[in-house]
Symmetry: C4
């Protein structure tokens, strides 16, 4: 709403109740009275700023255009004279004090030597709420850990005495050049952990020749991210399909227009999982954090994940695939396949690829790992003569922490591997530089491990280089005989003379 008159702080301050609620964001006033019940983060957090400048709370967790997109123009009240607005003094919480201390004591990025280190650091320098949202997975969090364990069940069969003076781990993904057989997988709400959010990924990807998959639920807007990319820098788009297909159509076509090279449709999330760490965190605070996504309304209040997911359409089905093909020329990839049966259906539906994924363990708990499914899928597709096919690529994600993990997936038939949380934790800990360091670690590890494996290029990574015979085994221990174990006294080694120590 174009309002010629500039408002003043005192004027806005009068509208400070549930029934009449204005707030100021980025120097403009908005009437959010009607929006209150629809706010994904709950009313409480807005009401805290009723009649006041809410920018400080709004900023870190919303794309700049979220409020203008979600409020009808009639609620845009126009600019406020900054000199008349009382400065909002945010109290410094105990958590913020703790975070400041840890940020000051943060290990130098030079001492980071593995992807695990980013997680170690991130956990202590980001808000608990962010950590809960990022690290959580569904139910008992068995699948998220199984994703990692699966890689431990595959062993290398290294070849020796090959001239490995030079090794090359670059590849193509959907025809796009990539300096690594790894892409940055979509993760949501990056600003919870770093003020630059997903832009850290975009900029690091530009500098390193790696491809980023942009998330529907990114806390930076799609255009911000594309704008931050270098000319010609390939990007993929992860898509949650909206109940309102028109919103989805516009979103997809806008992405294509802006040059996105692949559309990854998430198919394993008709509803977002129950993530108990996230749910518990919601309980301890008094406010909700959330992302207002693409104009739809959300009602639930059960942790960040569920707050932001109500727009996702649970009716999405195979019948929708032709429609997607009709609205875009981008390659279509189905993200979240978990069985050979669905891989076959996907192939027959004419898409360009699949991601064997369980959504980082955040959806159906005790679903199998992508790596385990990979063996089943490649066998089934080969049995039908569908593979090899240069126009159909298989990706895997979940649990990757080492270049050696990637090499195992490649040996078993993956074209590339998606890595999500480690890059997220990298920028939470060290911003863009962290992501670049993560990619450098991958490079060092690829050089090392390809040499030691005897593979000079991605083509030379063959199934015989791994022993995956244990991959499909699922060991669960028989409960122990505690009485026996508590009476057994373990052996100990030679003893130093304690009186001299």
């Amino acid at each position: 709403m174009s309002n010629a008159r500039v408002l003043t702080g005192p004027e806005v301050a009068k509208h400070n109740s549930r029934d009449d609620c204005w707030i100021i964001v980025h120097g403009k006033a908005y009437d959010v009275t009607d929006f209150l019940p629809e706010h994904p983060g709950g009313q409480a957090i807005i009401l805290k700023y009723a009649g006041k400048d809410a920018t400080v709370a709004y900023e870190p967790i919303h794309p700049p255009d979220a409020i203008t997109t979600n409020l009808p123009p009639s609620k845009h009240l126009g600019p406020v004279d900054a000199s008349t607005v009382a400065k909002v003094v945010q109290e410094v919480t105990e958590e913020q004090k703790r975070l400041e201390k840890y940020r000051a004591a943060k290990p130098s990025i030079d001492t980071v030597i593995s992807l695990h280190d980013f997680e170690t650091v991130a956990r202590l320098v980001i808000p608990e709420k962010a950590w809960a949202y990022y690290s959580s997975a569904s139910d008992d969090e068995i699948t998220i850990r199984e994703n990692r364990m699966a890689y431990q069940r595959v062993w290398f069969r290294p070849r020796i005495l090959r001239d490995v003076s030079t090794v090359d781990w670059s590849t193509t993904i959907l025809g796009q050049k990539s300096t690594l057989p790894v892409y940055i997988s979509a993760t949501a709400l990056g600003k919870l952990g770093h003020p630059d959010g997903e832009l850290c990924l975009t900029r690091a990807a530009a500098n390193t020749g790696v491809i980023q998959m942009v998330a529907t639920l990114a806390s930076c807007s799609f255009d911000e991210i594309v704008d931050a990319a270098k000319p010609g820098q390939p990007l993929f788009l992860q898509l949650y399909v909206n109940r309102d297909r028109e919103i989805t159509r516009k979103y997809v076509q806008h992405a294509e227009k802006r040059g996105v090279k692949g559309l990854f449709i998430t198919v394993d999330a008709p509803q977002l999982g129950r993530r108990e760490k996230d749910m518990r965190m919601k309980q301890v605070g008094d406010e909700g954090v959330a992302e207002v996504q693409r104009g739809q309304k959300v009602k639930k209040d059960e942790g960040v994940a569920r707050a932001i997911s109500s727009f996702i359409d649970p009716s999405l089905s195979w019948k929708d695939i032709p429609w997607f093909k009709s609205i875009t020329k981008m390659p279509i990839i189905l993200k979240g396949i978990g069985t050979a049966e669905d891989a076959i259906l996907a192939y027959e539906a004419g898409v360009q690829g699949i991601v064997l994924s369980n959504h980082g363990g955040r959806q159906l708990d005790t679903a199998r790992s992508g790596l385990e499914v990979l063996v089943e899928v490649t066998a089934a597709l080969r049995a039908r003569g569908y593979l090899p096919n240069p126009n159909f690529e298989i990706y895997v994600d979940g649990g990757v922490r080492r270049a050696s993990d990637v090499l195992k997936a490649l040996a078993l038939g993956a074209k590339a591997v998606g890595v999500g949380r480690p890059f997220l934790y990298a920028f939470c800990a060290y911003g863009q530089e962290g992501v670049e360091k993560a990619i450098q670690i991958f490079r060092d590890e690829f050089e090392m491990n390809m040499r030691l494996l005897g593979a000079r290029s991605i083509d030379e990574i063959v199934p015989e280089m791994v022993d995956a015979s244990a991959l499909t085994s699922h060991s669960v221990l028989t409960p122990p005989d505690n009485l026996f174990h508590s009476t057994y006294q373990p052996l100990i080694g030679a003893k130093f003379n304690e009186s001299k120590l």
Copy 2:
């Protein structure tokens, strides 16, 4: 004994010795001299109240009619003038003080997000004796834990891109409608953990459309429970068969008359197991708690479980099945089958169903889990052409904590799943409301997991949705090389600068 004269406190107080022992319960006096050696809880606890009002000790652990049922009418001495009875002052024990503190600090029910939470809470807000009785299992408690572990050996194979806008997890059990494919399995002595005892279950079941199986050893009387049910609310009955079959006949026929819809005869408990936690607990206190059941005498004194079980007939055999069929028209289900052989015998004996169960791990330790037996049983019954059969249902119980567990059992051939302890712990922690919350959690989890699994109704849950290949494996670790492990120094991640923390 109808005694016109009203007794006075001082009169009763004279009978305060082992050889002449009267007590007052609910305002009436009883001569329990002859009953002393038969009291399942031991003589000591009664003698403590010899000549006094024992109501405060009697109340929490006996059905109201226990004393009148167990004592011959000649020992009923009639009403006592309340104004003449010295008030019994119960000393407040250390345990009671501790419980009060924990009850005050109890987590809000709103923060309960999984069935596990009820157990976490219950353990700290109920008497140790109750916890020992409820949580204990036989010998080394391997089977009780294996029951849970078995579910961890089954993995999902989720299907995607099915329209899961609406999902429905209601079903029928023995022809009765149930809003969940779960029934409340029988557990004993509920009043140990909550003053309302099993009525919490009955009332919650009424409100949620779930079926309760009433326990023979409930601390509320059968009729109290039935009276608490809503009109038309289906109930099942769990039966321990008495050495005196006449008692059993009356009990069963009374149940049928009162509308019970299924008779679950326990066949895995010719003698109740040695439950060491329970036995140890008995040792630390000076008093026994017990339930006087259906008029039989008990002699042993080895924990609650064995105290209350002496009436159970160890001679019960297949020969008795025709007799049961002759005394009731209720469907008969054998509860406690553990092999394919016995499942076949049960089918051929013409019963309407079986529960694959090891009694929550409370009977034969290192017996296999019901879930594992399910695979063996369905294969054997199918091999003989006995399945599918709409008039023969298979249930499983033990170890269920998640809707996902239930879905696994259903995929493997179960019609429904019995859940005992979790509902028990739910009412110990929060009464009827706890049970309703537990059922709400099941609902939330069913909605989520059925969507993620791609099953819109119970019918769509098929064997292909699970990978149960590891179910029959039993891993026990080779004892570790402690000297090696004690010299190995694990890797650690990047270090924060400790001087700044």
Copy 3:
């Protein structure tokens, strides 16, 4: 040496050097100068008593006749006038003080409810040296624990609805009646843990109808033990074969004359194992404890086990079996068989039985458990038509702690099971009464478990009652990814309000 003159303390006291060393034991003097280097427990402990009364040190660890048997008559110096002998004041060590305290705080025997409890108690009420000798096993102590773990890999398949009003677990072993399918296996040096030593076993066996196998290395002499037995009480004898076969011949024939019913020749101990706990214990003290066995000389000084074993003949071989058959009519059993190959050789050598045993894990570490070997052995003997044979019995020992373990071994083909350490710990903790309590626990468990298994007598325990499919599996974990596990944050349950606790 018959010496008419009675010696005096001062006379003996003059002989107090390494070159001239007399000691007094049980009121008589001995010249041990020449014996010093041969003492299995080392010279130091004797020299501590040179010229003094050594009875207090001698008593607890030697049979009364050890000194007279081991010293030539010419070194027997005859009686000493007690009134002239200075009383040896034993200093009270820190360990003795600790033991006194623990003995005073010992749990009442009424609170012992499983065999494990005896071990829990014994460990704290016997000298460290005794605990080290008893509890130790060879090398990394993997086999001793594997013995127990093997039972955890066998699961029950219980049968229901059999009339189990009465169950009977009595049997015969080598034709001798036994109230349990369990015999007391030989363990050495009982006096280290209890002043009555192995007599506790003999007396308890008499009272309970159980058969004791007497150990060659018992700290009570063979005759003491036989004298303590009731008339007709069956005993077996465990035999270490001496390098001097004449000693062995006399020993065996003496045993037969005294009524022993079975000769168990140990065949898995040509040399006693390296038991590191025992070796380390030797290092910390300044004195050796040992048993002087049957007149042979020992030289080594590496823990109790090796000190006492040098007389054992490593040349013992299959060629010796006919000789044993020629010197005795007792049934001959080979104790320590570990493969099907040797079981076949034993059968063909015409012995009456075999014990599948690894010597309680004290000999070859990473040898398999007797239970695992049982499956291999029964299959091989059956394949050759050697089984069933009423004149050839198979026993198993090692790792048994429950009646349920015994039932598993019986189901897999054992005639009876040997139990050693648990009975040893029982008398260390509670003397004869402890052993009787242990047997009572077995009885209670047999009653319970046979009922729950649906077996009314030993004959009804059949292979189909167990699932032993995992018995031969040996799981060792892949080393964990510590960095991953250290960054994973486990789920926690609902939280109590800590400010109220």
Copy 4:
């Protein structure tokens, strides 16, 4: 450079900057200005001694001739008058103080009873940097631990009643007599842990009849080691192949001339692995330690391992084997084979043997253990008729801690077993005496275990003596259900009366 004039301390002291840097080592001055950037240990440590006597820092980690070999003669400035040189006072660091304390409290070597003990001791008495270099392995250190775990998956099948009066565990390796079926495998940089470095091994090998494999990266020079050997004492040589083949040719031919009996070419290290413990250690100190090897230049600075490895030629391939055969008559063995495919290629290339090895877990992480590979290799070679062949020997290394481990490898087809770290730790802890004690422990264990196994000589160790059925299994646990495990309360044993303790 032959310089007639003797320099003085003050003269040298003037050259104390980065642009003009002289140091004194062993009484002679050197101009290291140009060498500074090439120093594997970094410039910092040299600059600390610019213009000063650096002997104290140089001595412990370089062979005496390292400086003369690496600097061109023109930089050799000649002798310095010792009386004019200021004595360098090394500050005593906190670590040195700690080490002194631990060295004083070191357990007596008499109390060492297993190879594990050396590691327990070494870890606390050597500098952290040494421990990090020695103990580290690549990436997640899974393979280093798996090497040990593999032995735990093989079980013995011992034979009884064989006359084992005498047992003999001597053998030949490449035709050389060895008193053990074990050789001392090459480990680098021994002086980091002990001032005598690898000479401890050489001297102990001489005294015990064991064969040492000399490491290319030994901190004692090759000639020092050979000079320390007894006449006729067999030595093997481990070879890293240099990018400059001429250096390698000279080195090999010099070794042959000095009597080396076997050339073990390392084929699994085209680049040395990323060893994170070692890398992290580099970060905490301010100085690098390193070995200047054979005249090549190194540039990297990522832990000791990578600093010293840049000379290794990653182009080494099968095509080089004929050249090696052309330059030496020594038997050639390829060290680091990890698959049957490469074992076949090696055999066909005409070498005399292979070492199945993963370089002690220091190269490709999650490569399989040598023991596991052994089964695959012997099967493949036998299938092609290549085995048995007296001129082709197979060795295994990695994870051996017990004679029983060696016996398992021999039973599965190895001719001998290489043991590296345990001997290294032995001399770190106790010098030459430690190595001799380690060999004595092996002897004791071989005697014991061969007797118990029923094998009188190496020939009698046959495949049937082991059950290796679990060797190729790789168990990784399904992530645990933490909520369940945290609510389960383990059984406990009988309780002592705590008020009396």
